[in-house]
């Protein structure tokens, strides 16, 4: 029984790790990785702001896996032959499999606006982007487009490097997918006070320049900029599964609660696949590291022969942006509404922290908090526990 894992990101590596943990012969595992050693995207911003070596982003687990004897192929998968059960690699070689795990990850989404093809426009997604940004010297004006978690952490890291950073967000609030209005407006005030320029409700219309970026045109005004960083979200990277018959929903691979795709013996996890929400039971696209690892464990269980189904994911997010703590457990008000619930929000405010609990029919379904002091104390665990006992 041979298992081939396409992708050397978190999903791929942890599938391999859990397979070896649950007793699968390491020699029968092959990982096809474009980037090796595996690295953690969560550490990119920190490495950038502290001017550390790229080694800091690597996840130490790869040594353990290599010692155990898994096979790693440096390369890119080109095609999957579902009937012949083999993966064709770029460069002509092929590899047969009994079980296939697709963990190709995501790709940064860049909005179709004029000027995105200019030099010095980039995304902030993988280690290549980090290398580009690390080469930057001198005081620069950087425009960050998109005020999500990645955008704001990148912006505060770039700010720490000495650049002048301006953040543009199309939505009315910052962190639109993570926290709700009362918290995000507080956070925006805080970050503005720290010297980060944030324009919300501002759609970037055009990136101006000839060959190189000269400025950003947003809401009719032109701000000068030397570099434009797009952090406008992630889309599944699933070009590989086209014409294979594997079912996809808006580009993301549909998986069942065992992590299996519509074709037998083919599994998928990570940013290329959908996941299940524990509270509503619906399929959602959440490009988060621990979602990948969660399904990696489920898949490893199923490949090694123990039937296991996940009950779903309760998102748990923490981020430190310029000294502010952002905590989110469960659903936010907006996300709950988009999943078809009719939630209510109850907020509490203390001197250094604002926290909100999201309720649905008096049952807690989410908690979010933003703290501005060094003290991180919150009720996230209570809500997390309640969600798990109430909804399963």
């Amino acid at each position: 029984m041979k298992t081939v894992i396409i992708g050397g990101g978190i999903g791929g590596i942890y599938t391999a790790y859990y397979l070896t943990k649950y007793g699968y012969t390491p020699n029968n595992i092959t990982v096809i990785a474009a980037e090796w050693p595996p690295y953690s995207k969560h550490r990119l911003a920190e490495v950038l702001s502290e001017k550390l070596s790229i080694d800091y982003t690597y996840i130490g687990i790869y040594n353990l896996l290599l010692d155990k004897g898994i096979n790693v192929i440096h390369g890119v998968a080109d095609k999957i032959d579902v009937t012949g059960k083999k993966v064709l690699l770029k460069g002509g070689s092929e590899i047969t499999y009994d079980n296939l795990v697709i963990a190709t990850g995501g790709k940064p989404f860049i909005p179709p606006i004029k000027g995105v093809e200019l030099d010095n426009t980039m995304s902030f997604y993988d280690i290549g982007d980090l290398r580009k940004l690390m080469r930057i010297r001198g005081p620069l004006r950087i425009a960050v487009i998109g005020a999500g978690l990645v955008g704001l952490t990148a912006a505060s890291a770039l700010k720490k490097m000495g650049a002048t950073v301006t953040v543009y967000e199309l939505m009315e609030d910052i962190l639109p997918g993570v926290i709700d209005k009362p918290l995000s407006s507080k956070l925006k005030n805080y970050l503005s006070g720290k010297g980060l320029r944030i324009h919300t409700g501002t759609g970037v219309e055009e990136i101006i320049g000839d060959r190189r970026v000269k400025g950003v045109k947003a809401s009719g005004r032109i701000d000068p900029a030397d570099i434009v960083v797009f952090t406008t979200g992630v889309r599944p990277n699933t070009d590989l599964v086209k014409d294979t018959g594997i079912e996809t929903v808006r580009g993301a691979i549909r998986i069942n609660r065992s992590g299996a795709t519509s074709i037998k013996n083919i599994y998928a996890t990570g940013d290329c696949a959908l996941s299940h929400d524990l509270i509503t039971g619906k399929e959602v696209y959440r490009p988060l590291g621990f979602v990948a690892a969660h399904y990696a464990r489920i898949i490893a269980r199923n490949i090694t022969g123990t039937k296991k189904e996940t009950r779903g994911i309760v998102p748990t997010i923490y981020e430190n942006i310029g000294g502010a703590h952002i905590v989110r457990v469960g659903l936010s008000l907006k996300e709950a509404e988009s999943l078809g619930l009719s939630p209510t929000l109850r907020c509490e405010e203390t001197i250094d922290q604002i926290s909100c609990t999201v309720f649905e029919e008096r049952r807690p379904i989410g908690y979010e908090a933003v703290g501005f002091s060094e003290r991180i104390r919150n009720k996230a665990w209570q809500v997390y526990y309640d969600i798990h006992t109430l909804f399963s």
Binding site: R377, K379, W381, Y385
Partner: protein
Amino acid sequence: MAHRYILAVDYEKCTGCHLCELACSIKHYGVVNPYLSRITIITKPEIQASTPVYCLQCNDAMCARACPANAIYFDDKTGAWLIDYNKCIGCRECVYACPFGAISLTVKAEPIKCDLCGGDPECVKVCPHGAIFYGPEYEVVRKLKKGKAVGIVYEVLEKGIEVPAGNRVKEAEEAVKTLYRIWEERKKLNI
């Protein structure tokens, strides 16, 4: 509204025999071990005083407020704050929060506190000097103060604006006077 049941100790009657501690540990664990007891006697021979330290089942309990897992809940039936061990994460926050030191830890670092033995406290039964009382609040307070007056005041407070009928009014008036006198005396002692 039913009367709240409370556990109280008459410090003056306690001789420091530690029987309640043993009874408590036997009741809950089947072993004699003062470390597993939820009531603890501290003796100070110099002033011939023994002080039982026990859970007062506060109205607004600090332990329940401090618990990050929301594991301490009020049981209406017995009037006790109980620990839900399914929820408890063993962080000891309640131990530090309690102003009375009434929550202790077992050797496995599991918090234990008085649960009023589900409404039938063993320590009350075993106390040879009748120093521990358990019952409705007004009755216990009446016993402690050795007078009827306080009990009646509590009853009046309980029933709100409803004035007791007949000669009970007089009793209540006297009770208030007694309370006032106690308060005056305490003020003199500067406590």
